[in-house]
């Protein structure tokens, strides 16, 4: 008998169980399948296509805990028509979900090594599942460092969680903002500046980066300067993702399709296309 697989192009209806505001225009939604079945397992770094009926579909990284996939958690920032519609969905509203799609952060490769996460702005959302996973398996890793940069203190994503993480003895969290007025007493400056002072052994480190591409370019330079190998640096890339199954080609990045081969890619594999204007 032939096995049957769910159609990856067919959205499954999910209900909004909870919606919380993170900061201006950014919301976190907790979703559950409307038919009562469980959320399919996902790996840290994967994304889903969220479909607001009658409006359109957007790829959004999963920002929940991969070790506890119920409910499905997405953090979304209002940027265009679809994300605006997603962000205005109230509790009980139904939307379509396809996925999970794409590659994952190399949490298995990083076992036995130091883990450095570098997040810029909303880039913390796709990296949060890594932190959940690594903290759930804390004894398997060396130093774990989160370097987070954002625009102003008011733009800190998951602020309460950041404070909780900072209080842990087994995790180093360094936060910086691009500009600040008092009473902010934390660091001010670009996130790349944190790399020099972060406690990790560059020869035994896996670095995972997520944020604006320019930020990642400069972060890679700083990591390389510190001595982290190119094949130990992983980035989450973003392009116009539409079908999410490698058919339409909208998200092509050099020879890779980000929906299928990405979004998480090893820098060593893509460096010749990274930062190229035409790609």
């Amino acid at each position: 008998m032939m096995a049957t697989y769910p159609d990856p192009m067919r959205p499954q209806p999910y209900t909004v169980r909870r919606r919380s505001k993170e900061m201006g225009g950014t919301f976190t939604l907790e979703l559950a399948p409307t038919d009562g079945t469980g959320v399919p397992p996902f790996a840290a770094g994967q994304c889903n296509m969220l479909y607001v009926f009658g409006i359109g579909e957007v790829p959004i990284s999963i920002s929940g805990d991969p070790t506890r996939p119920q409910p499905l958690v997405h953090t979304v920032r209002t940027v265009g028509a679809v994300t605006r519609a997603v962000c205005t969905l109230k509790r009980g509203a139904v939307l379509g979900v396809r996925g999970p799609f794409g590659s994952a952060w190399p949490v298995a490769t990083a076992v036995g090594q130091d883990v450095v996460l570098v997040a810029g702005g909303l880039g913390l959302a796709p990296l949060r599942p890594v932190l959940y996973y690594v903290l759930a398996h804390r004894e398997q890793y060396g130093q774990v460092v989160l370097l987070y940069g954002t625009c102003t203190p008011e733009d800190l994503l998951y602020r309460r969680q950041l404070e909780h993480w900072r209080a842990r003895f087994d995790l180093e969290v360094l936060v910086t903002v691009d500009r600040a007025t008092s009473p902010w007493r934390g660091s001010v400056g670009v996130v790349t500046k944190l790399i020099a002072r972060a406690p990790f052994d560059p020869s035994e480190t896996v670095a995972m980066l997520c944020g604006p591409e320019v930020m990642m370019r400069f972060t890679i330079m700083a990591l390389r300067q510190r001595g982290v190998a190119e094949d130990h640096i992983f980035v989450s890339m973003e392009r116009n993702m539409q079908c999410a199954i490698g058919l339409c080609g909208h998200c092509q990045f050099g020879p890779t399709f980000l929906c299928k081969d990405g979004p998480v890619l090893c820098y060593d594999r893509i460096k010749q296309w990274f930062g190229k204007r035409e790609v």
Binding site: R77, C151, A180, K193
Partner: protein, 153 residues
């Protein structure tokens, strides 16, 4: 008698500086400490020194009318603060305030300028280090100007 040379040698700013230069530079240095809230320098005042941060954190600030002091950058242990002592008119362009107890090595700018003028090899070695700091800060400022994390549609 204990000298400041070991402290200088341990600071990243002087990594790999020749020992003979370290000895000369140490002659212009003293230890200093600033409690939280104290100012290391104020905009417009004479810039007669620079600081190597050994411990603590300081904020580079500029006063903006109706907004109060705006922090442009913070600096921590291992960093260098101040290059206005190098160039005329030798005036600070910003305020620098200690955000927490901060321990520093204070360098007398006039003393060091005289020694650099007398020994151009020392001057070159110092200028190389300061130029690198200036370039790094310039690149960082350019990135900050991009407003990378904002919504751009």
């Amino acid at each position: 008698m204990e000298t400041l040379e070991p402290l200088l040698a341990a600071h990243p700013f002087f990594t790999d500086l020749e020992p003979r230069f370290l000895q000369v530079v140490a002659g212009c240095a003293t230890n200093g400490r600033f409690p939280a809230g104290a100012f290391l320098c104020r905009e417009g005042e004479a810039a007669n020194q620079f600081y190597l941060l050994r411990h603590g954190k300081v904020a580079l600030q500029i006063g903006v009318p109706e907004r109060g002091p705006v922090t442009i950058e913070t600096m921590e242990a291992g960093e260098v603060c101040g290059w206005s002592w190098l160039f005329p008119p030798y005036r600070w362009h910003f305020d620098v305030q200690a955000l927490e107890l901060t321990r520093v090595l204070v360098f007398d700018g006039q003393c060091l300028r005289a020694k650099c003028a007398a020994d151009h090899d020392l001057g070159y070695a110092l200028m190389q280090r300061f130029a690198q700091v200036v370039v790094q800060r310039l690149q960082a400022t350019r990135l900050q100007l991009l407003d990378l994390y904002g919504v751009h549609v």
